[in-house]
Amino acid sequence: MNYATTVIIGAGQAGLAMSQQLSQRSIDHVLLERGEVANSWRKERWDSLTLLTPNWQSRLPGFRYTGNDPDGYMDMPAVIDFLDRYARFVEAPIETGTDVTTVRRTQGGYAVVTNRGEWRCRTLVIASGACNIANVPALAAELPGGIQSITPMQYRNPDQLADGGVLVVGASATGMQLAKEIRQTGRNVLLSAGEHVRAPRTYRGRDIKWWMDACGILSMRYDEVDDIKRARRVPSLQLAGSKDRSTLDMNALTESGIEIVGRLVGMRDARALFSGSLGNVCALADLKMNRLLDTIDEWISHNDLPGDIGPAQRFENTRIAKNPRLDLDLNKGGIKTVLWATGYHPDYSWLQVPVLDRKGRMLHDGGVTGAPGLYILGLPFLRRRNSTLIDGAGADARDLAEHLHAFLGGRLKAA
Protein backbone atom coordinates (compact mmCIF):
# COMPACT_ATOMS: atom_id res chain seq x y z
CA MET A 1 0.00 0.00 0.00
CA ASN A 2 1.26 3.45 -1.02
CA TYR A 3 0.14 6.77 0.40
CA ALA A 4 0.02 10.33 -0.91
CA THR A 5 -1.96 13.29 0.35
CA THR A 6 -3.23 13.77 -3.20
CA VAL A 7 -3.48 11.33 -6.06
CA ILE A 8 -3.86 12.82 -9.53
CA ILE A 9 -5.22 10.47 -12.16
CA GLY A 10 -3.74 11.35 -15.54
CA ALA A 11 -0.54 13.10 -16.62
CA GLY A 12 -1.76 15.29 -19.45
CA GLN A 13 -1.79 19.07 -19.34
CA ALA A 14 -4.42 19.17 -16.57
CA GLY A 15 -2.71 16.67 -14.28
CA LEU A 16 0.71 18.27 -14.81
CA ALA A 17 -0.62 21.76 -14.12
CA MET A 18 -2.21 20.45 -10.92
CA SER A 19 1.07 18.79 -9.94
CA GLN A 20 2.86 22.13 -10.34
CA GLN A 21 0.22 23.87 -8.23
CA LEU A 22 0.36 21.26 -5.46
CA SER A 23 4.16 21.40 -5.41
CA GLN A 24 3.94 25.17 -5.00
CA ARG A 25 1.83 24.51 -1.92
CA SER A 26 4.11 21.70 -0.66
CA ILE A 27 1.30 19.16 -0.89
CA ASP A 28 2.79 15.71 -1.47
CA HIS A 29 1.17 13.95 -4.40
CA VAL A 30 1.57 11.39 -7.15
CA LEU A 31 0.31 11.24 -10.72
CA LEU A 32 -0.96 7.88 -11.88
CA GLU A 33 -0.66 7.63 -15.66
CA ARG A 34 -1.94 4.59 -17.55
CA GLY A 35 0.66 5.10 -20.29
CA GLU A 36 3.23 7.84 -20.57
CA VAL A 37 2.95 11.61 -20.21
CA ALA A 38 0.42 12.97 -22.73
CA ASN A 39 -0.87 9.48 -23.41
CA SER A 40 -4.04 10.47 -25.30
CA TRP A 41 -2.01 12.77 -27.52
CA ARG A 42 0.36 9.87 -28.25
CA LYS A 43 -2.07 7.03 -28.75
CA GLU A 44 -5.55 8.27 -29.52
CA ARG A 45 -5.26 10.95 -32.16
CA TRP A 46 -5.08 10.88 -35.95
CA ASP A 47 -1.83 11.59 -37.79
CA SER A 48 -2.67 15.01 -39.25
CA LEU A 49 -4.10 16.51 -36.07
CA THR A 50 -2.64 19.75 -34.79
CA LEU A 51 -3.66 21.92 -31.89
CA LEU A 52 -6.42 24.37 -32.78
CA THR A 53 -4.77 27.09 -30.71
CA PRO A 54 -1.68 28.96 -31.95
CA ASN A 55 1.65 28.04 -30.38
CA TRP A 56 1.96 31.20 -28.28
CA GLN A 57 -1.26 30.18 -26.54
CA SER A 58 0.32 27.00 -25.17
CA ARG A 59 0.93 28.36 -21.69
CA LEU A 60 1.11 26.35 -18.50
CA PRO A 61 1.99 27.60 -15.03
CA GLY A 62 5.64 28.65 -15.20
CA PHE A 63 6.11 27.41 -18.74
CA ARG A 64 5.28 28.49 -22.26
CA TYR A 65 6.10 27.96 -25.93
CA THR A 66 9.37 29.64 -26.80
CA GLY A 67 9.93 28.42 -30.37
CA ASN A 68 10.23 30.56 -33.48
CA ASP A 69 6.73 30.00 -34.88
CA PRO A 70 4.37 31.57 -32.34
CA ASP A 71 1.47 31.72 -34.81
CA GLY A 72 1.79 28.10 -35.98
CA TYR A 73 -0.06 25.07 -34.63
CA MET A 74 1.70 22.17 -32.93
CA ASP A 75 1.43 18.73 -34.45
CA MET A 76 1.20 15.73 -32.15
CA PRO A 77 4.97 15.09 -31.77
CA ALA A 78 5.36 18.75 -30.81
CA VAL A 79 2.53 18.55 -28.24
CA ILE A 80 4.03 15.40 -26.72
CA ASP A 81 7.46 17.03 -26.56
CA PHE A 82 5.97 20.17 -25.00
CA LEU A 83 4.21 18.21 -22.25
CA ASP A 84 7.24 15.94 -21.71
CA ARG A 85 9.37 19.00 -21.14
CA TYR A 86 6.75 20.45 -18.81
CA ALA A 87 6.67 17.24 -16.79
CA ARG A 88 10.44 17.45 -16.33
CA PHE A 89 10.28 21.18 -15.63
CA VAL A 90 7.81 20.75 -12.77
CA GLU A 91 9.49 17.51 -11.64
CA ALA A 92 6.12 15.81 -11.59
CA PRO A 93 6.16 12.58 -9.55
CA ILE A 94 4.62 10.32 -12.20
CA GLU A 95 3.95 6.61 -11.97
CA THR A 96 3.71 5.64 -15.64
CA GLY A 97 2.13 2.44 -16.93
CA THR A 98 -0.27 2.60 -13.99
CA ASP A 99 -3.84 1.91 -14.94
CA VAL A 100 -6.48 2.85 -12.38
CA THR A 101 -9.06 0.07 -12.13
CA THR A 102 -11.11 1.15 -9.10
CA VAL A 103 -11.56 4.24 -6.98
CA ARG A 104 -13.66 4.02 -3.82
CA ARG A 105 -14.22 5.99 -0.64
CA THR A 106 -12.34 5.06 2.51
CA GLN A 107 -12.60 6.35 6.06
CA GLY A 108 -10.21 9.21 5.49
CA GLY A 109 -10.29 9.67 1.73
CA TYR A 110 -9.97 7.38 -1.25
CA ALA A 111 -8.52 4.04 -2.24
CA VAL A 112 -7.11 3.96 -5.76
CA VAL A 113 -6.59 0.45 -7.05
CA THR A 114 -4.26 0.08 -10.03
CA ASN A 115 -2.64 -2.70 -12.02
CA ARG A 116 0.51 -1.88 -10.03
CA GLY A 117 -0.86 -1.89 -6.51
CA GLU A 118 -3.10 0.25 -4.39
CA TRP A 119 -2.78 3.88 -3.33
CA ARG A 120 -4.53 5.63 -0.47
CA CYS A 121 -5.03 9.39 -0.40
CA ARG A 122 -7.00 12.10 1.38
CA THR A 123 -7.75 14.00 -1.80
CA LEU A 124 -8.12 12.89 -5.38
CA VAL A 125 -7.96 14.85 -8.63
CA ILE A 126 -9.40 13.24 -11.72
CA ALA A 127 -7.48 14.61 -14.70
CA SER A 128 -8.00 11.73 -17.08
CA GLY A 129 -9.58 13.81 -19.82
CA ALA A 130 -12.94 14.48 -21.43
CA CYS A 131 -12.35 12.42 -24.56
CA ASN A 132 -11.70 8.83 -23.45
CA ILE A 133 -14.46 7.15 -25.43
CA ALA A 134 -15.85 8.07 -28.84
CA ASN A 135 -19.62 8.46 -28.94
CA VAL A 136 -21.29 6.12 -31.39
CA PRO A 137 -25.05 6.46 -31.80
CA ALA A 138 -27.20 3.37 -31.27
CA LEU A 139 -28.26 3.31 -34.90
CA ALA A 140 -24.69 2.35 -35.84
CA ALA A 141 -25.77 -1.20 -35.00
CA GLU A 142 -28.22 -1.08 -37.90
CA LEU A 143 -25.57 -0.45 -40.57
CA PRO A 144 -25.79 -3.05 -43.30
CA GLY A 145 -23.00 -5.62 -43.55
CA GLY A 146 -19.97 -4.73 -45.64
CA ILE A 147 -19.77 -1.19 -44.33
CA GLN A 148 -16.87 -0.38 -42.07
CA SER A 149 -17.70 1.63 -38.96
CA ILE A 150 -14.83 3.61 -37.48
CA THR A 151 -14.38 6.25 -34.77
CA PRO A 152 -11.79 9.04 -34.63
CA MET A 153 -10.10 7.11 -31.80
CA GLN A 154 -9.30 4.34 -34.30
CA TYR A 155 -8.76 6.52 -37.35
CA ARG A 156 -5.18 7.52 -38.19
CA ASN A 157 -5.24 8.37 -41.90
CA PRO A 158 -7.27 7.67 -45.06
CA ASP A 159 -5.09 4.67 -46.02
CA GLN A 160 -6.90 2.66 -43.35
CA LEU A 161 -10.21 3.00 -45.13
CA ALA A 162 -11.64 0.68 -47.74
CA ASP A 163 -11.79 2.06 -51.27
CA GLY A 164 -15.10 3.77 -51.86
CA GLY A 165 -17.30 6.46 -50.42
CA VAL A 166 -17.27 7.66 -46.83
CA LEU A 167 -20.10 9.03 -44.76
CA VAL A 168 -18.68 11.29 -42.06
CA VAL A 169 -21.21 11.87 -39.28
CA GLY A 170 -20.59 15.04 -37.31
CA ALA A 171 -19.54 18.55 -38.33
CA SER A 172 -17.42 19.79 -35.46
CA ALA A 173 -13.64 20.14 -35.74
CA THR A 174 -13.05 16.39 -35.96
CA GLY A 175 -15.66 15.59 -38.61
CA MET A 176 -14.78 18.62 -40.71
CA GLN A 177 -11.03 17.90 -40.66
CA LEU A 178 -11.41 14.23 -41.44
CA ALA A 179 -14.00 14.80 -44.18
CA LYS A 180 -11.58 17.23 -45.82
CA GLU A 181 -8.56 14.94 -45.73
CA ILE A 182 -10.52 11.90 -46.87
CA ARG A 183 -11.97 13.88 -49.76
CA GLN A 184 -8.42 14.84 -50.77
CA THR A 185 -7.79 11.15 -51.55
CA GLY A 186 -10.45 11.39 -54.25
CA ARG A 187 -13.14 9.47 -52.40
CA ASN A 188 -16.76 10.52 -52.45
CA VAL A 189 -17.55 12.02 -49.08
CA LEU A 190 -20.87 12.90 -47.50
CA LEU A 191 -20.86 14.95 -44.33
CA SER A 192 -23.87 14.69 -42.04
CA ALA A 193 -24.21 17.90 -40.04
CA GLY A 194 -26.24 18.61 -36.94
CA GLU A 195 -25.69 21.68 -34.79
CA HIS A 196 -22.21 23.08 -35.16
CA VAL A 197 -20.17 26.16 -34.34
CA ARG A 198 -18.70 28.03 -37.27
CA ALA A 199 -15.70 30.35 -36.98
CA PRO A 200 -13.13 31.77 -39.39
CA ARG A 201 -9.52 30.77 -38.74
CA THR A 202 -8.39 34.39 -38.99
CA TYR A 203 -10.33 37.60 -38.63
CA ARG A 204 -9.17 41.14 -39.31
CA GLY A 205 -5.68 39.82 -39.82
CA ARG A 206 -5.32 37.84 -36.59
CA ASP A 207 -6.07 34.34 -35.40
CA ILE A 208 -9.63 33.90 -34.12
CA LYS A 209 -8.13 32.48 -30.93
CA TRP A 210 -6.05 35.65 -30.57
CA TRP A 211 -9.28 37.66 -30.54
CA MET A 212 -11.11 35.27 -28.26
CA ASP A 213 -8.22 35.48 -25.83
CA ALA A 214 -7.93 39.26 -26.05
CA CYS A 215 -11.69 39.84 -25.59
CA GLY A 216 -11.78 37.61 -22.53
CA ILE A 217 -14.07 35.09 -24.22
CA LEU A 218 -11.75 32.16 -23.57
CA SER A 219 -11.23 32.98 -19.92
CA MET A 220 -14.91 33.68 -19.22
CA ARG A 221 -15.85 31.94 -15.98
CA TYR A 222 -18.51 29.28 -15.57
CA ASP A 223 -20.39 31.42 -13.07
CA GLU A 224 -20.52 34.35 -15.52
CA VAL A 225 -22.51 32.68 -18.30
CA ASP A 226 -26.30 32.55 -18.63
CA ASP A 227 -26.82 28.83 -18.85
CA ILE A 228 -23.74 26.84 -17.91
CA LYS A 229 -25.35 23.48 -18.66
CA ARG A 230 -25.95 24.55 -22.23
CA ALA A 231 -22.51 26.19 -22.49
CA ARG A 232 -20.91 22.90 -21.46
CA ARG A 233 -22.66 21.09 -24.31
CA VAL A 234 -21.61 23.49 -27.08
CA PRO A 235 -19.64 21.54 -29.69
CA SER A 236 -16.07 22.44 -30.61
CA LEU A 237 -15.44 25.24 -33.10
CA GLN A 238 -15.07 24.15 -36.71
CA LEU A 239 -11.35 24.86 -36.91
CA ALA A 240 -8.18 23.29 -38.22
CA GLY A 241 -4.60 24.30 -37.60
CA SER A 242 -3.23 24.16 -41.11
CA LYS A 243 -0.06 25.82 -42.38
CA ASP A 244 -2.00 28.12 -44.70
CA ARG A 245 -4.33 29.13 -41.82
CA SER A 246 -7.32 28.48 -44.06
CA THR A 247 -10.86 28.50 -42.74
CA LEU A 248 -12.54 25.13 -42.47
CA ASP A 249 -16.23 25.80 -42.97
CA MET A 250 -18.98 23.98 -44.82
CA ASN A 251 -18.66 26.26 -47.83
CA ALA A 252 -15.01 25.18 -48.17
CA LEU A 253 -16.02 21.53 -47.93
CA THR A 254 -18.78 22.01 -50.50
CA GLU A 255 -16.24 23.59 -52.84
CA SER A 256 -13.98 20.57 -52.43
CA GLY A 257 -16.83 18.36 -53.65
CA ILE A 258 -18.17 17.08 -50.32
CA GLU A 259 -21.94 16.69 -50.15
CA ILE A 260 -23.41 18.17 -46.95
CA VAL A 261 -26.53 16.51 -45.60
CA GLY A 262 -28.63 16.92 -42.46
CA ARG A 263 -28.14 15.19 -39.15
CA LEU A 264 -28.29 11.39 -39.35
CA VAL A 265 -31.54 10.60 -37.57
CA GLY A 266 -32.46 7.08 -38.52
CA MET A 267 -31.74 3.92 -40.41
CA ARG A 268 -34.52 2.14 -42.24
CA ASP A 269 -34.06 -0.87 -44.52
CA ALA A 270 -30.37 -0.03 -45.05
CA ARG A 271 -31.26 3.55 -45.87
CA ALA A 272 -29.66 6.28 -43.81
CA LEU A 273 -32.21 9.01 -43.07
CA PHE A 274 -31.08 12.61 -42.71
CA SER A 275 -32.94 15.42 -40.98
CA GLY A 276 -34.65 18.15 -42.98
CA SER A 277 -33.32 20.70 -40.51
CA LEU A 278 -29.97 21.34 -42.25
CA GLY A 279 -31.01 24.86 -43.24
CA ASN A 280 -31.75 25.78 -39.67
CA VAL A 281 -28.59 24.35 -38.11
CA CYS A 282 -26.59 26.29 -40.69
CA ALA A 283 -28.58 29.47 -39.98
CA LEU A 284 -27.96 29.02 -36.25
CA ALA A 285 -24.23 28.65 -36.88
CA ASP A 286 -24.05 31.66 -39.21
CA LEU A 287 -25.89 33.85 -36.71
CA LYS A 288 -23.75 32.63 -33.82
CA MET A 289 -20.55 33.29 -35.77
CA ASN A 290 -21.72 36.81 -36.58
CA ARG A 291 -22.44 37.46 -32.90
CA LEU A 292 -18.87 36.39 -32.10
CA LEU A 293 -17.55 38.75 -34.81
CA ASP A 294 -19.80 41.54 -33.47
CA THR A 295 -18.27 41.02 -30.03
CA ILE A 296 -14.78 41.25 -31.49
CA ASP A 297 -15.60 44.38 -33.53
CA GLU A 298 -17.14 45.97 -30.46
CA TRP A 299 -14.06 45.15 -28.39
CA ILE A 300 -11.77 46.59 -31.06
CA SER A 301 -13.74 49.82 -31.13
CA HIS A 302 -13.12 50.27 -27.40
CA ASN A 303 -9.45 49.34 -27.36
CA ASP A 304 -6.49 51.04 -28.97
CA LEU A 305 -4.66 48.18 -30.56
CA PRO A 306 -1.12 48.64 -31.76
CA GLY A 307 -0.34 47.34 -35.23
CA ASP A 308 -2.47 46.83 -38.30
CA ILE A 309 -6.03 45.70 -37.84
CA GLY A 310 -7.89 44.69 -40.98
CA PRO A 311 -11.37 46.01 -41.77
CA ALA A 312 -14.46 44.35 -40.30
CA GLN A 313 -15.68 41.47 -42.46
CA ARG A 314 -18.74 39.32 -42.68
CA PHE A 315 -18.53 35.97 -44.40
CA GLU A 316 -20.92 34.45 -46.87
CA ASN A 317 -23.69 32.50 -45.17
CA THR A 318 -23.46 28.74 -45.40
CA ARG A 319 -24.61 27.57 -48.80
CA ILE A 320 -26.69 24.45 -48.80
CA ALA A 321 -28.21 22.52 -51.65
CA LYS A 322 -31.67 23.62 -52.76
CA ASN A 323 -33.06 20.27 -51.74
CA PRO A 324 -30.51 18.54 -49.50
CA ARG A 325 -30.60 14.77 -49.62
CA LEU A 326 -32.90 13.20 -47.03
CA ASP A 327 -31.84 9.60 -47.41
CA LEU A 328 -29.12 7.39 -48.81
CA ASP A 329 -29.30 3.72 -49.74
CA LEU A 330 -26.21 2.31 -48.05
CA ASN A 331 -26.27 -0.79 -50.22
CA LYS A 332 -26.29 1.16 -53.46
CA GLY A 333 -24.78 4.54 -52.61
CA GLY A 334 -21.15 3.47 -52.89
CA ILE A 335 -20.54 4.15 -49.20
CA LYS A 336 -17.99 1.73 -47.75
CA THR A 337 -17.16 3.48 -44.48
CA VAL A 338 -19.06 5.42 -41.85
CA LEU A 339 -16.88 7.59 -39.63
CA TRP A 340 -18.55 8.60 -36.37
CA ALA A 341 -17.26 12.05 -35.47
CA THR A 342 -20.09 12.40 -32.97
CA GLY A 343 -18.15 13.54 -29.94
CA TYR A 344 -16.47 11.88 -27.01
CA HIS A 345 -17.18 11.23 -23.38
CA PRO A 346 -15.03 10.50 -20.34
CA ASP A 347 -14.57 7.00 -18.98
CA TYR A 348 -15.58 6.70 -15.32
CA SER A 349 -16.09 2.94 -15.35
CA TRP A 350 -13.50 2.63 -12.55
CA LEU A 351 -15.13 5.24 -10.32
CA GLN A 352 -17.17 3.78 -7.46
CA VAL A 353 -17.99 7.10 -5.82
CA PRO A 354 -21.55 8.43 -6.31
CA VAL A 355 -20.73 11.68 -8.09
CA LEU A 356 -22.33 10.98 -11.49
CA ASP A 357 -25.77 12.04 -12.68
CA ARG A 358 -28.31 9.66 -14.21
CA LYS A 359 -26.63 10.01 -17.61
CA GLY A 360 -23.21 9.17 -16.20
CA ARG A 361 -21.91 12.73 -16.29
CA MET A 362 -19.82 14.17 -13.48
CA LEU A 363 -21.77 16.39 -11.11
CA HIS A 364 -19.56 19.25 -10.01
CA ASP A 365 -19.45 22.92 -9.20
CA GLY A 366 -16.48 24.26 -11.13
CA GLY A 367 -14.57 21.01 -10.61
CA VAL A 368 -15.51 20.56 -6.95
CA THR A 369 -17.57 17.37 -6.68
CA GLY A 370 -20.05 16.43 -3.98
CA ALA A 371 -17.57 13.94 -2.50
CA PRO A 372 -15.23 15.54 0.04
CA GLY A 373 -11.74 16.05 -1.39
CA LEU A 374 -12.63 14.73 -4.86
CA TYR A 375 -11.93 17.10 -7.75
CA ILE A 376 -12.21 16.95 -11.51
CA LEU A 377 -10.23 18.87 -14.15
CA GLY A 378 -10.30 19.23 -17.91
CA LEU A 379 -14.01 18.95 -18.70
CA PRO A 380 -15.68 21.35 -21.17
CA PHE A 381 -16.26 24.74 -19.52
CA LEU A 382 -15.34 23.29 -16.13
CA ARG A 383 -14.42 26.69 -14.70
CA ARG A 384 -13.71 28.67 -17.86
CA ARG A 385 -14.47 28.42 -21.55
CA ASN A 386 -10.88 27.27 -22.13
CA SER A 387 -10.96 24.54 -19.47
CA THR A 388 -10.18 21.82 -22.01
CA LEU A 389 -7.37 23.77 -23.69
CA ILE A 390 -3.72 23.60 -22.65
CA ASP A 391 -3.96 27.33 -22.05
CA GLY A 392 -6.86 26.84 -19.63
CA ALA A 393 -5.37 24.09 -17.50
CA GLY A 394 -3.31 26.41 -15.34
CA ALA A 395 -6.02 28.73 -14.05
CA ASP A 396 -8.39 25.85 -13.26
CA ALA A 397 -5.62 23.91 -11.52
CA ARG A 398 -4.73 26.97 -9.46
CA ASP A 399 -8.35 27.49 -8.33
CA LEU A 400 -8.87 23.85 -7.45
CA ALA A 401 -5.48 23.55 -5.75
CA GLU A 402 -6.50 26.46 -3.54
CA HIS A 403 -9.75 24.72 -2.70
CA LEU A 404 -7.96 21.45 -2.06
CA HIS A 405 -5.41 23.16 0.16
CA ALA A 406 -8.17 24.77 2.21
CA PHE A 407 -9.99 21.45 2.41
CA LEU A 408 -6.88 19.76 3.81
CA GLY A 409 -6.71 22.52 6.39
CA GLY A 410 -10.27 21.72 7.42
CA ARG A 411 -11.54 25.04 6.15
CA LEU A 412 -13.82 23.85 3.36
CA LYS A 413 -16.40 21.20 2.68
CA ALA A 414 -17.39 19.61 -0.61
CA ALA A 415 -19.73 21.35 -3.04
Partner: protein
Amino acid sequence: MTQATMEKVTEVNNGVNVEALLGAREALEAAPEAAQFKWRTTCDWVNGTHSRSTVDGFFGLGEEQGRSKSFTVEADHPEQFAAEDNAPTPAELALTGLASCLMGGLAAVAQHRGIQLYSVRATVEGDMDLQGIMGIDDDVRNGFGTIRVTFDVNADATEDEIKALVAQSQKRSAIFDAITNPTNVIVEVN
Protein backbone atom coordinates in the same frame (compact mmCIF):
# COMPACT_ATOMS: atom_id res chain seq x y z
CA MET B 1 -27.95 37.51 -18.13
CA THR B 2 -26.65 41.01 -17.68
CA GLN B 3 -28.41 43.54 -15.52
CA ALA B 4 -29.42 45.53 -18.58
CA THR B 5 -31.31 42.65 -20.17
CA MET B 6 -32.86 41.64 -16.85
CA GLU B 7 -34.43 45.08 -16.66
CA LYS B 8 -35.55 44.85 -20.26
CA VAL B 9 -37.28 41.53 -19.60
CA THR B 10 -39.52 43.03 -16.95
CA GLU B 11 -40.73 45.70 -19.40
CA VAL B 12 -41.40 43.31 -22.25
CA ASN B 13 -44.76 41.62 -22.43
CA ASN B 14 -45.49 39.03 -25.09
CA GLY B 15 -48.01 37.29 -22.88
CA VAL B 16 -45.53 34.56 -22.00
CA ASN B 17 -44.78 33.63 -18.39
CA VAL B 18 -41.10 32.88 -18.77
CA GLU B 19 -40.53 32.44 -15.06
CA ALA B 20 -43.15 29.67 -14.96
CA LEU B 21 -41.60 27.98 -18.02
CA LEU B 22 -38.11 28.14 -16.54
CA GLY B 23 -39.46 26.80 -13.25
CA ALA B 24 -41.13 23.93 -15.10
CA ARG B 25 -37.89 23.19 -16.93
CA GLU B 26 -36.01 22.98 -13.66
CA ALA B 27 -38.68 20.78 -12.07
CA LEU B 28 -38.79 18.41 -15.06
CA GLU B 29 -35.02 18.17 -15.15
CA ALA B 30 -35.09 16.97 -11.54
CA ALA B 31 -37.98 14.56 -12.22
CA PRO B 32 -37.67 13.34 -15.83
CA GLU B 33 -40.54 10.85 -15.38
CA ALA B 34 -42.90 13.81 -15.00
CA ALA B 35 -41.70 15.05 -18.40
CA GLN B 36 -43.20 12.02 -20.14
CA PHE B 37 -46.31 13.35 -21.92
CA LYS B 38 -48.85 11.78 -24.24
CA TRP B 39 -50.86 13.99 -26.59
CA ARG B 40 -54.12 12.61 -27.96
CA THR B 41 -56.85 13.27 -30.41
CA THR B 42 -59.92 11.24 -31.34
CA CYS B 43 -61.11 11.46 -34.92
CA ASP B 44 -64.63 10.50 -36.03
CA TRP B 45 -65.67 10.07 -39.61
CA VAL B 46 -68.58 12.33 -40.56
CA ASN B 47 -69.15 11.75 -44.26
CA GLY B 48 -67.01 11.48 -47.36
CA THR B 49 -63.64 13.05 -46.53
CA HIS B 50 -65.21 15.13 -43.77
CA SER B 51 -64.04 14.21 -40.27
CA ARG B 52 -64.24 15.75 -36.84
CA SER B 53 -61.51 15.34 -34.22
CA THR B 54 -62.00 15.93 -30.53
CA VAL B 55 -59.16 16.98 -28.30
CA ASP B 56 -59.47 17.09 -24.54
CA GLY B 57 -57.29 15.38 -21.97
CA PHE B 58 -53.64 14.47 -22.14
CA PHE B 59 -51.18 12.61 -19.97
CA GLY B 60 -48.33 14.42 -18.27
CA LEU B 61 -46.70 15.30 -14.95
CA GLY B 62 -47.23 11.69 -13.97
CA GLU B 63 -51.01 11.56 -14.35
CA GLU B 64 -54.02 12.09 -16.58
CA GLN B 65 -54.70 15.77 -17.09
CA GLY B 66 -58.10 17.25 -17.83
CA ARG B 67 -58.73 20.69 -19.26
CA SER B 68 -61.54 23.21 -18.97
CA LYS B 69 -63.16 22.28 -22.28
CA SER B 70 -62.97 20.03 -25.30
CA PHE B 71 -61.92 21.29 -28.71
CA THR B 72 -63.09 20.06 -32.07
CA VAL B 73 -61.09 20.31 -35.25
CA GLU B 74 -62.65 19.40 -38.58
CA ALA B 75 -61.02 18.36 -41.80
CA ASP B 76 -62.28 17.86 -45.31
CA HIS B 77 -61.15 18.41 -48.87
CA PRO B 78 -62.07 21.11 -51.39
CA GLU B 79 -64.50 20.73 -54.25
CA GLN B 80 -61.65 20.09 -56.67
CA PHE B 81 -61.32 16.74 -54.87
CA ALA B 82 -65.03 16.05 -55.37
CA ALA B 83 -65.57 16.82 -51.70
CA GLU B 84 -67.74 19.33 -49.84
CA ASP B 85 -65.01 21.64 -48.53
CA ASN B 86 -66.39 21.73 -44.99
CA ALA B 87 -62.98 22.37 -43.47
CA PRO B 88 -59.22 22.55 -44.25
CA THR B 89 -57.42 19.52 -45.59
CA PRO B 90 -55.32 17.41 -43.23
CA ALA B 91 -52.28 18.66 -45.17
CA GLU B 92 -53.21 22.23 -44.33
CA LEU B 93 -53.76 21.26 -40.71
CA ALA B 94 -50.29 19.73 -40.62
CA LEU B 95 -48.85 23.01 -41.94
CA THR B 96 -50.96 24.83 -39.37
CA GLY B 97 -49.49 22.66 -36.62
CA LEU B 98 -45.99 23.51 -37.80
CA ALA B 99 -46.72 27.25 -37.96
CA SER B 100 -48.42 27.32 -34.56
CA CYS B 101 -45.61 25.41 -32.94
CA LEU B 102 -42.96 27.74 -34.35
CA MET B 103 -45.07 30.74 -33.39
CA GLY B 104 -45.49 29.70 -29.76
CA GLY B 105 -41.80 28.97 -29.49
CA LEU B 106 -40.86 32.29 -31.06
CA ALA B 107 -42.96 34.24 -28.56
CA ALA B 108 -41.45 32.36 -25.63
CA VAL B 109 -37.89 32.84 -26.88
CA ALA B 110 -38.58 36.54 -27.54
CA GLN B 111 -39.88 37.00 -24.01
CA HIS B 112 -36.88 35.19 -22.56
CA ARG B 113 -34.52 37.37 -24.59
CA GLY B 114 -36.35 40.57 -23.64
CA ILE B 115 -37.64 41.28 -27.15
CA GLN B 116 -41.04 42.96 -27.45
CA LEU B 117 -43.11 41.60 -30.34
CA TYR B 118 -45.65 43.82 -32.11
CA SER B 119 -46.81 41.50 -34.86
CA VAL B 120 -45.69 38.16 -36.21
CA ARG B 121 -47.02 36.30 -39.20
CA ALA B 122 -45.81 33.02 -40.57
CA THR B 123 -46.83 32.10 -44.10
CA VAL B 124 -46.43 28.42 -44.83
CA GLU B 125 -46.45 26.66 -48.14
CA GLY B 126 -45.91 22.97 -48.73
CA ASP B 127 -45.23 21.43 -52.12
CA MET B 128 -47.08 18.23 -52.86
CA ASP B 129 -47.01 16.12 -55.98
CA LEU B 130 -50.39 14.42 -56.11
CA GLN B 131 -48.97 11.64 -58.26
CA GLY B 132 -47.93 10.18 -54.90
CA ILE B 133 -51.25 9.93 -53.06
CA MET B 134 -53.09 9.15 -56.28
CA GLY B 135 -50.86 6.13 -56.84
CA ILE B 136 -49.78 7.36 -60.25
CA ASP B 137 -46.03 7.20 -59.71
CA ASP B 138 -44.39 5.04 -57.04
CA ASP B 139 -41.27 7.20 -57.13
CA VAL B 140 -43.23 10.18 -55.82
CA ARG B 141 -43.73 10.35 -52.08
CA ASN B 142 -47.16 11.00 -50.59
CA GLY B 143 -46.00 13.72 -48.23
CA PHE B 144 -44.65 17.16 -48.76
CA GLY B 145 -41.71 17.72 -51.06
CA THR B 146 -40.47 20.97 -49.57
CA ILE B 147 -42.15 23.12 -46.94
CA ARG B 148 -41.35 26.83 -46.91
CA VAL B 149 -42.11 29.03 -43.91
CA THR B 150 -41.79 32.80 -44.27
CA PHE B 151 -41.87 34.96 -41.17
CA ASP B 152 -42.78 38.64 -41.04
CA VAL B 153 -41.80 39.90 -37.63
CA ASN B 154 -42.29 43.39 -36.27
CA ALA B 155 -40.38 43.61 -33.01
CA ASP B 156 -37.99 45.69 -30.96
CA ALA B 157 -34.95 43.88 -32.31
CA THR B 158 -32.29 43.94 -34.98
CA GLU B 159 -32.62 41.88 -38.13
CA ASP B 160 -30.12 39.32 -36.82
CA GLU B 161 -31.90 39.11 -33.46
CA ILE B 162 -35.14 38.36 -35.28
CA LYS B 163 -33.42 35.73 -37.43
CA ALA B 164 -32.03 34.20 -34.25
CA LEU B 165 -35.52 34.06 -32.72
CA VAL B 166 -36.83 32.24 -35.77
CA ALA B 167 -33.86 29.85 -35.75
CA GLN B 168 -34.18 29.11 -32.05
CA SER B 169 -37.93 28.45 -32.38
CA GLN B 170 -37.12 25.78 -34.99
CA LYS B 171 -34.43 24.31 -32.78
CA ARG B 172 -36.93 23.74 -29.96
CA SER B 173 -40.06 22.91 -31.96
CA ALA B 174 -41.78 19.54 -31.52
CA ILE B 175 -43.61 19.74 -34.83
CA PHE B 176 -40.59 20.98 -36.77
CA ASP B 177 -38.79 17.93 -35.41
CA ALA B 178 -41.74 15.64 -36.19
CA ILE B 179 -41.81 16.81 -39.80
CA THR B 180 -38.07 16.94 -40.45
CA ASN B 181 -37.18 13.66 -38.74
CA PRO B 182 -38.59 10.14 -39.00
CA THR B 183 -41.00 8.84 -36.37
CA ASN B 184 -42.28 5.33 -35.90
CA VAL B 185 -46.02 5.30 -36.40
CA ILE B 186 -47.87 2.24 -35.14
CA VAL B 187 -51.42 1.82 -36.45
CA GLU B 188 -53.63 -0.91 -35.06
CA VAL B 189 -57.23 -2.01 -35.49
CA ASN B 190 -59.37 -2.87 -32.45
